[in-house]
Structures are given as C-alpha cells and as structure tokens.
Symmetry: C2
Subunit: 481 residues, 2 copies
C-alpha cells in the first residue's frame, strides 16, 4: 500500500469512529509546516474535496522566525481556506504554571476548536506519527501513568476540553522516516526544525537519548511499543465499558462537586473495576484531577473497602472520600456543604405547607401533598425510605426541623418511647449528620425521621381521615415517576 | 512496619492465594546464598515453624567457587532440612538452545519441584525482590510482550511447568537496598555476588545502564513501574476471567493438538477478548508457543474475522489457523489428521452393525442403535445435526463410506434427485473435506450425509417398522446424555 492509501484507510476508519462518514462538514487541518503536517495536508488533498479542507496554523511565538513560518504554511494551503493566529506560548506557560508543551497543546486545541466552530467543522486533523506515539507512550510510562496511559494517543478521540469536536490522527501508523521520504518525493520542503522546536526538554531526551538506547536492546522497540499500545487500547476500551456499567449500577449522586456511589454495588465489582470506578468518580468531581497517583488511589480504595464507616480519605487536589454506611462520597474542595444526606438549612423549624415544598441544605427538598387515593394509603409500608405516608388531624401545621435535645418518639411497630438520638445511632446516621438531620413534626411530636423512622401516632389506618404523602428528594438523582 | 512484618503479611497473603492457609505441609525455600534468599530464609524462620522449612540450593556450576557457596548455604540452613544439587547450566543452555538465564530458571524450578515432591511440599518460596520485578517488567516491555507481560512476576503463581505446586515470592514488595540493610542488621553476610552471577547480559544492561538513565528522568521510576504492574495485574486477572468465559462459550474441541472454536461466539466478543481467546487457543495447542508476536496474532485474527471461509493462516511454531464456515480451528504441526470434521478413514465402505460403533478418522465415531421408542421416532426432525433417525428394511446392511463419483440422493423435503457433490457445496462443506465426508448408506442408496442431509427414502413415518438412531460423535467434545 502506498502512503496515501494508508493515510486514506486510517482517515476513513477514524472518520467512521466519529459516526460521521462520509464526510459532509468541513475538516480543520492543524498544520505547523513541519514534515508531518505538510505530508498530512498533501495527502488529505487527494482524499477530501478541497472545499471541505480548512488549514489552521498557530504561531507559538517561540522562535524569531515563527511569523515567516506562518507565511510558509499559508503557501502550503494555496487555494484552500486558511486561518492563523499567534499566541505567546512561553508567556502563557508561565502565567498558568504549565510546561511549554502543555501550554502549547492547550493553545493549539483551543485555536483548532475556535476555527472548527467558526467554519462549522466537527473534526480537526493533526499529524502525529508513530514515532510521536512511541515517545508519548514512553513519557506516560516514565511518569507512571496507569495502564490507560500506555495506550498512547488515539487515532480518533474527542478533542480534549472541547465537547462535540473530534480529533483525528490518521498518520499515527506511519513512521517519521516514511513521512520524510514522502515529503522529499513530493518536494514539499517542510520546515525541518518546526516539529522539533516546540519539544520540551523531556520529549527531546526521550527522542535523542532514551530511544536510541532502547533500540540497542531491541531494534524493533518502536514497533513493539506501538503494538503493545494497540493491544492495551482494546483492553482499555473494554475495561472502560465495564467500569461504565458498574458506574451506572452504583451511582447515586453525580452533580458537579459531589459523587455518591452505592458502596455495596461498588464493592461487589472486581478489583480492576473498583479502581477504575473510583478514578471515574474523581474525574467527575474534578475534571482535571492532576496526578492522583496509584498510591493515593489505593489508600482511598482500602479505606472504602475496610468496612469502617464514617471514614475519610484526603485525596490530592483537595478531593475527599467519605465512607458512609452504605455510600462512598467523593467531593471536591469546592463542595462547601455535605450533599450526601439531607440536613436542615437552619436550626429554626420551617413550616411545611400541604401541598408544598421546602428546600433543605444543598439542594435537597421535601415535598408534602395530601393523598386521597385509598390504594396509595394502603402502601404506607412502602419500601422507599425517602417517601412516607403520615396520618394526622387536618389543620395541624407541619414543620421540618432538627431534633430537640433529649427528644423522644414512638417508633412505628416497636412500641414504647425511644430517644431520637438513640434511634439515629441505631439507624447508623453518622454523628456529624445527626444534629441537622431533618425531622417532619407536628407541634406535639415528631412524625418522621426523614429516610428512617415513622412515629406510631402518624400511622395510616383504614379509618384515617387525612393522609399526607411526604417525599424527600436527593439532589441530582433523577427519579422515575 | 518492620521488614519481617511486611514479609509476614506478603507471605500470609500469598499462602491465602494458594488456598492452603494455615500452612500444614512443608515449605521449600530456594536459597542461592545471596542477600535476597538469605534475608528470606532468616525472616521465614521467624514466621514458619522450623520443622516445616526445607532449604534447597542448586549449584549452577557457573563459577569456580560455586561448590563452596553450597556449603555456605548449608551453614545458613543450620538445623533445618537441607537439600542441594549441582547442574551444569552452561552445558544445559547450549544443549537446549536456551539463554543462561532461561536454562538456570528451568533447572531451578525442576530442582525445587523435585525437592517439593520428595518432602511433600505444595509450595516453594523464592526471594525475588521489587528491583528484580522492575527489571523483569522492563525486560518484558523491551521484548514487546503484551499487556499481560507488564504485570511482571506474581506474588503467588503456579510453579511454571510443575502442575500442583505453587511458587511464592513474599519479598516482591521489598527493595534491594532494604533487603541488604536487613542482612547487615542481622549479620547474615550473604554471598554478595551470588545474585548477580547468573545474570544475563540483558538483565545486567537493564540494571546497570537503563535503570540509572530512567531514574534521571524520574527518580521514582522503580515505584512507578511496580505500581503500574499492580494496576495491570488486576486488569489482567479480570480480562483472563472474561476470556475464560468466552472460551467456555465458544470451545467445541479442545484436545492436545487441535482446538476448535465456535466462530459466532468468538466473533461476538469484544476485540480485547477475541485476541485473548485466540492466544488461549494457541497456548492449548502448543503449551510453550514461543513468541507468537502481536502482528502474527493480528493477521490471524483478521483472517478469522474476514468472513472468508476455508481460509488459513500459518502461525509461528508450525501452528495453523483454519477458518471454517462456523468454526475456527487451531492446530499444531503435530496434528497429522484434520480433526475438525468427520472423515472416512479409508475409501472402502465399512460395515456398520446395528447396534454398533465404527471409528472414523482422528477420533470421530459413528454409532447405530435400533430405536424402539415411539416418542423418539417422532423427533426424526430433531435439530442436532449429528443425530439422525433413519427407517429402512430390517436386515438391510448399513455401510459408512465416501460418496461415489456422480452419486445422487433424494434430499428429505426437497423432492427430486440431486448430486451429492452439489448438496455438499450447498451445505458449505469445504472442498478439502468433501472427498472423505462420511455417508451412511444401504446397498441401494445413501441414507444420510452425516451432519447434513437425510434421504427422503429413509424418512421415519408412523408406520415405519424399523428405525435406527445414528449418532456421530466429535472427539473431545463431552456430551450431555
């Protein structure tokens, strides 16, 4: 197969992966002017109609001649649409505390996404080759990223940080030498140092020091690493899929700064998926969790598995794992209020109208509604802990409040009076949540410790004249019915 | 935690993995006399009752002083049981075309297994440490072993090549420096060059050249690689388990030199498992398949997925993959006869007595039995292609034979006569199998093309006086009922 045919195959396969084959919308091609992007553009011209190609060049402002390079790329683009911009990457890196490589990548993706949105493209194409892939894999390996990092760059992936846009890498199977030969054959005269110029010290070391040494041990090392990455990619896909299924089973709350997982469903899954689901939770709470290393994750996992309740683990990036009786709660530092359980927003009682809804702390709500359906009354023993049917004299006002010091109630079905504090301990409500645990009460006594225990006096009987349905709603949990 | 406590924890966990905790049978400890095994023995003395410890030393005959080392180890063993032997490893390596390291490992495992069997032990313990683990992972990486190779050595595994024995490595979490400090602290004075002496050139390069360079890039690289291996180990376990389930679903034949898989069940599984199940099949057919590289496996996989039937792929080590209409057949060079389908063993007809069984080629069998049960007759339209009920005149002899040139039959339910060759083509019997495909026939005409088509004249009717049940049995496939 010729190089063009190989690019075409890889391009079609990647496009297929986006679900957008055949191509109908424009395609943004990131072109630095180096051999990779010059060859990429040259080959894409023979694969994609010219009116769908948009050439985009970002001047990184890192070298004196960089403005001239932009002009060179404009020349390469010829009659194609061409857009360019200049960003002072060194400055940006300093300002954001990023490496030059990270700042450059972020700025390039931002620029490519900007152009894509402007021209109505859904995909951008870049010229990473097999040697870049090998270097990336080694960088991930050296930095100690997990198995998922060893798959390297993907031929098709969402554009990082820019939802709805795809990133295609059709040269990922081609070696640098093949690409340079292609450039020579087609007299593309690319900027030979352009692709090296933005390299960080680290990538340069890998390219010029580590890889030559590894090639002494195994002359086929590049191919071996690419093969390993391909094998790992398929396994990673499967493991992600399986972790996604566990996630679906286990997730109770998933909103911004907090995730709660059903501890039982999580603990039943195999070790590899427990780890991956924990990582998923961290990435939901903190989309760029930085380096939550394996050891930090492992100590969190051990705490979550230990059977201790009300245990906590601090994770890097200000994340916290709280282990409840039946839940794992992961929250970011930004989550000011605990959202894993209902809490009264104030220690003063709040009137609960019927019908009516009041807001508890942190997005929780409680709703009251008169229930006239006799069938529904019959299900006062229903098993959703967040719903209760209570009977009392019509006209009696309801309030939601915290327990009083020493307050007692008559737990339904138990007989006798018990201290609410003791009930809460028996029901395993963590100490830190007891003081503000919401109770629905009439003026005389408590009716319902939300989520837990109904008072005998609120029991629905066939002759009950007035029945109210109380329902407490967890934030972020979509409900059926 | 002290080093002893860490060894104890790791030892108990490994023992637990063998299902044999608490320890009741003797434990064979492989001791070279170097720091690792000296520390291992010293710490095991404090964990395991002395009467359960058996010290085993293999003199590799690689250095002039090796006999003296055996004496040193005998001294370390003190009052414990002690066994030693000498093998000329260099000679063995030459004779078997192995590297010194491979030959040494093979000989050590053989010796340890021998001692274990002699003393009634079910587990042997060796002193591999975390630095050995890092080197092993890098060796696997450099050789291009797949994801499974990156998990490195296991803390507990079956002793390779010696079924029923376990291999424990309780020092796998301890660094070389910690172990040497332990030796110094307890004045063990191990043979300092013993552990280096058997090193191959390759492992030495990794230890003294590659690892120091990697540590310049990331001072934590050893820990990172150990962590990565731990993460991969759990994922590998899960993937093996899932591949095992696909295997159970898909395997049709699994005996020595040939494996047949249901193509449909295999193709339905995810890419990662299709690859792993193919590898499993190869390892069943050839227990030491050498290096079936990723590329060879991929080309076989592509052929198996291509939809071409009767396609073949040659795999390294003389293995062959044959793609049938509904099966993948993997066979070793040692499999002389195709066993994936029934074939007559000779072109001369063979008399089939009722009741009676005759042997076809390569383990296939056909059985005939008079069927007097009226209910069973009713299921003459049963859906097992390998069973047929035929009606004919009692006393007519049955034979099993290949088709005759130009022979015709009257396919049940189709009406009219058709050439048997054409029927075989329509039924997608591969060309290479048609000439010897077995047919059950009476003197006048064919009754049953085994596995495929019944003759109209053999049809069972309510008034049929004599019905014979014919059943063809695939070798190696266990049958219910």
């Amino acid at each position: 197969m010729s190089l063009i045919e190989r690019v075409e195959d890889a391009f079609r396969e990647a496009l297929h992966g986006t679900g957008q084959a055949p191509l109908r919308s424009p395609l943004v091609v990131g072109v630095s002017g180096g051999p990779d992007s010059a060859a990429l553009l040259h080959s894409l011209r023979q694969i994609v109609p010219a009116d769908l190609l948009v050439v985009a060049h970002l001047d990184h402002g890192l070298r004196p001649g960089s403005a001239a390079e932009a002009e060179f790329v404009a020349g390469l683009a010829g009659d194609l649409s061409f857009q360019s911009a200049r960003v002072e990457i060194a400055e940006r890196a300093r300002a954001r505390g990023l490496s030059i490589e990270e700042a450059g990548r972020e700025a390039r993706y931002e620029f490519l996404a900007h152009v894509a949105r402007e021209v109505g493209a859904t995909a951008v194409v870049v010229g990473h080759n097999a040697d870049d892939q090998v270097e990336t894999i080694l960088m991930h390996l050296l930095r100690g990223s997990g198995p998922a990092g060893l798959r390297g760059m993907r031929p098709v992936s969402p554009l990082p940080g820019h939802a709805g846009l795809w990133l295609l890498r059709p040269l990922l199977g081609l070696g640098r030498a093949e690409i340079e030969a292609y450039c020579a054959q087609h007299e593309l005269s690319p900027i030979t140092d352009a692709s090296n110029a933005d390299l960080t010290f680290f990538r340069n070391q890998i390219r010029h020091e580590l890889l030559p040494l590894l090639e002494q041990y195994n002359p086929q090392i590049r191919q071996r690493l690419v093969d390993m990455a391909a094998a790992i990619a398929a396994e990673d896909d499967l493991l992600m899929h399986l972790a996604g299924r566990v996630w679906e089973d286990a997730v109770l709350i998933d909103r911004g700064t907090v995730v709660a997982l059903d501890k039982g469903a999580w603990r039943e899954s195999p070790l590899a998926l427990r780890r991956r689901v924990l990582r998923l939770a961290l990435s939901q709470v903190e989309p760029t969790p930085g380096d939550v290393g394996f050891r930090a994750l492992e100590s969190a996992r051990r705490i979550a598995e230990s059977g201790n309740t009300d245990a906590r683990a601090a994770l890097p990036g200000g994340l916290t794992l709280v282990v409840d009786y039946d839940r794992l709660i992961i929250r970011s530092g930004a989550a000011e209020q605990p959202a894993d359980a209902p809490q009264v927003p104030t220690l003063a009682p709040i009137l609960l109208a019927v019908p009516g809804t009041i807001e508890l702390a942190d997005g929780w709500q409680i709703t009251a509604k008169a229930e006239e359906n006799a069938d529904a009354r019959a299900i006062s023993a229903n098993r959703d802990p967040w719903t209760a049917y209570v009977a009392f004299d019509a006209g009696t006002p309801l309030v939601v409040r915290a327990r009083h010091e020493g307050e007692r109630m008559r737990p339904f079905g138990l007989g006798g009076q018990t201290k609410i504090k003791k009930i809460m301990i028996d029901r395993k409500i963590p100490a830190r949540l007891r003081e503000r645990w919401p109770i629905v009460a009439c003026p005389e006594h408590a009716l319902w410790i939300i989520g837990h225990v109904l008072d005998e006096r609120a029991r629905v009987r066939p002759q009950s004249a007035y029945v109210v349905r109380l329902h407490c709603r967890q934030p972020g949990v979509s409900e059926a019915g």
